[in-house]
Subunit: 332 residues, 2 copies
């Protein structure tokens, strides 16, 4: 059983993930190629993954068979496990709880060689729809407080499988980063009675030096204080605290802008490894005036080294105004 442990000074949680490798000799760098060409996410290999929890596009009702256009399955090597009670206990001055949670993989396309960036916008819209459908389903489990959705692309960004996929982790706690965002935006709101993200949107549209592109519903921009070169945020123009408010029209609109910025990024730095993360309101919360859901996209171009570990702040060699300019001017 994995274990969640809390740092007694910082309140930072970690997962001791016992379902994964653990001896010193296990830390040998793995290569995509080392799998001998077998891909557990490809059509025809459905029985090598745990049984699917969602699929789109397959005619009829025969799960775990080919014919799907998108498939969601539990992670075979989960960081957290779904079975068990959420026991919380102390250990002297330390605190821990069982590693209860869900860890799922969204197989974005049956095509092994299709990257997320290359997906047609209509197909990308289905990926976003799967994000929402899984949040809605996982919210039914009262043990869960937050659903993290993210993507690791490229080995340098932490991906261990080549076939295009994103990940879902349902957690029994709200992660510290989200708590900080909620606290920061709540404090701004209590002072100004406005959403800080809505204010950011207004200022960015007025200044127009960090916007990469926009459409009727969404804006894509480089943030004012980016941790990484070419970091981008995608935000809905209309205030909404949770991604579950998304509808069919919004999925389409989001996928057009997301597809464009990913192709622009690829045109600037071909095949760059990246992570993206959905920031949305905690589960079981009413609509929040002060929080505004968004995606953060972080290309993997700089190392997290001693300075960042020790300080929690980041050194970025590319001003976001320059990054926005390069992205806007890139030929796609």
């Amino acid at each position: 059983m994995p274990e969640l442990r809390k740092d007694p000074v910082l309140g930072r949680w970690i997962i001791i993930s016992t379902e994964r490798g653990k001896r010193p000799t296990d830390f040998i760098v793995e290569d995509f190629e080392s799998k001998g060409g077998f891909c557990p996410l490809c059509p025809g290999n459905e029985t090598t993954t745990p049984p699917e929890v969602l699929s789109y596009g397959r005619p009829g009702d025969t799960p775990n068979r080919p014919g799907w256009s998108l498939r969601v399955v539990p992670n075979k090597y989960p960081a957290l496990v779904i079975e068990g009670d959420l026991d919380k206990e102390g250990e002297g001055l330390y605190d821990k709880m069982n590693g209860i949670g869900a860890h799922e993989v969204i197989i974005e396309s049956p095509d092994h060689n299709a990257t997320f960036t290359q997906l047609p916008p209509q197909h990308m819209a289905r990926v976003f729809q799967a994000f929402r459908d899984r949040i809605v389903d996982l919210e039914k489990d009262p043990r869960f407080r937050y659903v993290m959705i993210f993507k690791n692309y490229g080995k340098a960004a932490g991906a261990s499988l080549e076939h295009s996929h994103s990940q879902i982790v349902a957690l029994p706690i709200v992660p510290r980063m989200i708590i900080s965002e909620l606290e920061g935006s709540k404090s701004y709101h209590s002072y100004k009675d406005r959403c800080v993200y809505c204010d950011i949107l207004r200022q960015e549209i007025k200044q127009d030096i960090r916007i990469v592109c926009q459409n009727e519903h969404f804006i894509a921009m480089t943030p004012y204080a980016p941790r990484s070169p070419f970091e981008m945020w995608v935000m809905p123009k209309r205030h909404a605290s949770s991604f579950i408010t998304m509808n069919e029209v919004m999925f389409e609109s989001l996928s057009y802008i997301f597809s464009e910025i990913m192709r622009r990024l690829d045109a600037c730095i071909h095949n760059v490894p990246y992570n993206f993360v959905l920031h949305t309101a905690p589960l079981h919360s009413a609509s929040l005036d002060y929080f505004h859901w968004h995606f953060e996209i972080m290309p993997k171009l700089t190392s997290i080294a001693g300075f960042e570990w020790g300080s929690g702040f980041y050194i970025n060699p590319v001003p976001p105004e320059d990054a926005a300019k390069f992205l806007k001017e890139a030929k796609i």
Copy 2:
């Protein structure tokens, strides 16, 4: 001029480091080998670095010549610059300040091939002495609020030069990570009237399942909630909030324990990339009852991927009790 910018929601600062590369094409992976064998940190090449601010071991008073056993020089490509006023200003709802600071390199040994782990403890003690001497000197500059000292070993951990060195960054703000530690430990102290780190030491000595080694003055242990496999902390047994309280006897004692754990780590995972960071009290602060200086050593064995970026918490496949056992049993 570099710029410090603050994220308006999280209060997280970043450095826009204009002294470094900035075009998309600049992000080509650099190799140690690409320098063509020339090392600016080697004896004989003293004039290729900015003039030294400290050196040990050179007879006579001819700076920037060979003969030294340790040398401290300003970084040629600093993240922050020493000249200028500390202007703070707003930009709409955003906040920024000039990137004023010091960025120095400690060249730990004249021997290009000596690693920190292999330094004789007597020599390692001089490295720690240089850390203290530089903090004491930089504290005289009223613009600085904190001195970060850290080491990046290996390319995967962010090192860009092979010759063994550590780094010093003097900052005009106290970094968020240190503020979190100060707040967490202060809150514990106000409730229990005891230092949380002293309590951790007592519990660890009693449990004896995470201690790697100890001597009269120091303890080396794997922390209860480690972010990374084989993460270790080194703490003085006697309460002290600042590293500048260190004396000659303590430098020797620290170097024996530090040398031992680094050799144990190397015996477990040969030549593993790592970062270490000194956590000490802010400059110009009196002795603090609630804070306890320490080193944190983070082997680079797992990636920071989407999950960690989005949540601020960490997945670690190695329980610290197992890591401590492997380290203790390693043949050195």
